[in-house]
Symmetry: C2
Subunit: 264 residues, 2 copies
């Protein structure tokens, strides 16, 4: 790997503040690679040899069963993926494919596992990453089991707005059929869901969405900090773990003033 790339890797949250020796171990055999759009990086069930760190582009994690298929998550920089499988040296539970041109750091799984044993700080950093992923999955599960399709879409739009720190206009980052699968619906129903939201101040033109009546949309969406993480994703909040901490702090600061929970 080029030394300029190494410098860049050193700034990643996972490698910040770790011992130089550990860094050397962890990045031994690491490889910065570029992939074109629509490339399958890994198939579910495969043994996992590398930890992937997405530096540029978008990656989709998806999974199939009996001719059905669903998108579990869509990743944007900076994110690690299949970290869990690497830690246990287990098989991947999800397939990964690029949605656009990507720049990805690949680190041998052995190196990660060794570095964790050597450096408690690094092991803690890995734990934090795992926690971010776990809590994200818990949120997704609650989202799915507790809300309808329209509600999920409404909240998705509001989260997007918070993350992009935008005003009343928001850009969808993916094709609608992929968004539909992520939200657990068919493309047809996503269309109709957008239709339903028209009466709540949502106007769609291609991938641009105007939110002309936020209060009305929120009335329908009923966003909940314990499901939807509204952390802005532009400042120093780089990884999911940071967003989780932001969410808890925001929660405590506002003490449920905005989203009062029932007593009892």
């Amino acid at each position: 790997m080029r030394s300029s790339d190494l410098e860049r890797v050193k700034t990643l949250p996972m490698f910040a503040n770790i011992a130089p020796d550990t860094f050397r171990v962890a990045t031994a055999g690491a490889n910065l690679q570029r992939f074109p759009a629509n490339t399958t990086l890994l198939r579910e069930g495969d043994p996992v040899d590398f930890l992937y760190v997405l530096l540029e582009g978008q990656v989709e994690l998806h999974s199939g069963w009996d001719d059905r298929e669903t998108v579990i998550a869509i990743l944007r920089p900076v994110s690690t993926f299949i970290l869990a499988a690497v830690v246990l040296d287990a098989d991947a539970l999800m397939s990964a494919r690029t949605l656009e041109r990507c720049e990805i750091l690949m680190i041998p799984g052995d190196a990660i596992r060794t570095a964790m044993q050597l450096d408690a700080r690094f092991a803690v950093a890995v734990s934090r990453d795992l926690v971010g992923a776990f809590r994200g999955m818990v949120r997704a599960m609650k989202n799915h089991k507790l809300r309808s399709g329209v509600e999920r879409l409404a909240n998705y739009l509001l989260v997007l707005r918070s993350a992009d720190n935008a005003g009343s206009t928001v850009r969808l980052h993916h094709e609608k059929r992929i968004l539909a699968s992520l939200l657990g619906m068919t493309p047809e129903n996503l269309s109709r869901a957008f239709g339903t939201l028209q009466s709540h101040g949502v106007k769609v033109q291609g991938s641009v969405v105007q939110l002309t009546d936020i209060p009305a949309l929120e009335a329908l969406a009923k966003p909940d900090p314990l499901i939807d993480n509204h952390a802005p994703r532009d400042g120093d909040i780089l990884i999911d773990a940071d967003a989780e901490i932001w969410s808890s702090e925001w929660n405590r600061a506002t003490m449920g003033k905005l989203a009062p929970r029932k007593a009892g």
Copy 2:
């Protein structure tokens, strides 16, 4: 804490093979407590002060939104819970309540975080636990997004059979309405789902379920090692992480002979 209890704690997977100093730090202020059935241990949104280790009994993790409520997971010994929140010192995303009389070890969160910083082996043990939880959640997500209610129930029964290492008869461990919520359906529909499975060799009498035609049931369930973890839960497989490793190894050993994946 009594020294006999301390000895017992030392045998837990999470504390196996860690330095004596770390053990002392981690268990400082730890407390072994008993709770009656139907006790809320923690409410979602609350700050988390303790790591909980379930030693005896059953605990339900659940969550609510807008007057709806769902069970996310049901834990049996030995399991840690809300470990993720402890690691980040974040608020709980799920509520926890006992389903029966429970024996629970409570360890101050500070102690856990300090011990992780001190001892890489302990931090790795925590990581493994987190991985087990994460992969369990991914499996649950796939289960929900890819399968129908009847299919989920059929697979649930088959997993129970594997876990209990039983023959053709299986015992449900929870009330049916709780099982229904866990499987993402109403009690009414769980009843009807059992009805549907009658024609596939499933006979229900209270909490006892007879599986009289496993091949037929499997034909409907189409179990998949990447969704359903069929690891036996009686031998030396104590925690989810071990079950994940078992699953991967079983997978590699049988190389998809039993569940061939389509070539790609």
